[in-house]
Point group: C2
DNA sequence: TGCTAGCATTCACAACGTGAACGATGTCAA
DNA sequence: TTGACATCGTTCACGTTGTGAATGCTAGCA
């Protein structure tokens, strides 16, 4: 009853490793972009915008897989930072059209640099072959999953 | 000013992919273990216990990287499920010693099966070479990072 | 015996996100 | 045109998750 033999292999699963590593990295990323008064979800929104060019809040909510009400507060904040502009759609005055500003593009580039630095820190110690293999596999998985524009959060459970 | 050229490569970074995929997987895992009235952190605690054999709540808090007060509620819940036993350390009556019960081991095994299923779903579509490469690379990263016993959370930003 | 430290616990609180309700606008049929 | 209904953005109340400070025991040491 006391000494359990079955050493659960849970930490050996990709599910576990991916979840844990993802959380660790996401936390670090979140900490570093905090300098720009941004949180991961903001970066997600900016990224969605740079790809779409411009979009309504509803469309963004769908892309980010969050409630429309959350997009409101994200957009509020980004507008305050002058990272996006928010104008009524002349064709449908219910819709707010969000657009990346130059400042937004600048911010996004800075976040990208942070991400690349983290990439290097993370992959650096890995042997070259493993590094490229990981890149390819992750890319494939991301593509396969549709890769919602979302940056992942910080907790790790 | 309007058409931005620089297509940010953020989604191309490992940081982004790992964070996003990790969040997606963690969410799925969380949903599936909910059947057993467990959350990822509970699994983290059980996993820590099966490796340590037995531990005080403080030790577990350190391993899980969470506040001791959180361990209290996790342990409360697991105790209610009879997944762990909680007894005062006779040698130091301030400490509560947590131990995995048979039921706890059973639960953990079920969670492990869930994780393996998710692994298969995830890696299945990948070509064989990439699959093993990913496994190796993740294992290396996990080892390098110390792999805290923690299952990752659900948000994805 | 008294002081100080450590452990578990409780409690108030902050952060994050959701879903329901609401007002403004658009659409379509009568 | 008018009226019914849907859609968009916004606000608000709420649930969840986790933290940090305060508290009560218990240990250990002078």
């Amino acid at each position: 009853m006391n000494d359990v033999k079955l050493s659960t292999g849970l930490p050996e699963t990709v599910t576990f490793q991916l979840g844990t590593l993802g959380a660790l990295i996401a936390e670090r990323f979140a900490n570093e972009i905090a300098v720009y008064a941004l949180k991961p979800k903001h970066v997600g929104l900016l990224t969605a915008l740079i790809h779409a060019g411009a979009a309504s809040q509803q469309e963004l909510a769908a892309k980010l897989m969050v409630a429309p009400s959350l997009v409101v507060s994200l957009a509020d904040h980004l507008e305050q930072l002058e990272a996006i502009s928010r104008v009524r759609d002349p064709g449908d005055r219910r819709r707010q059209i969000l657009k990346l500003t130059d400042e937004g593009a600048r911010l996004l580039t800075r976040c990208e640099n942070i991400a690349r630095t983290i990439d290097d820190d993370l992959l650096g110690p890995l042997p070259g072959r493993q590094r490229t293999a990981l890149r390819h596999a992750l890319k494939a998985l991301a593509a396969q999953k549709g890769l919602p524009i979302t940056s992942s959060r910080k907790d790790a459970t």
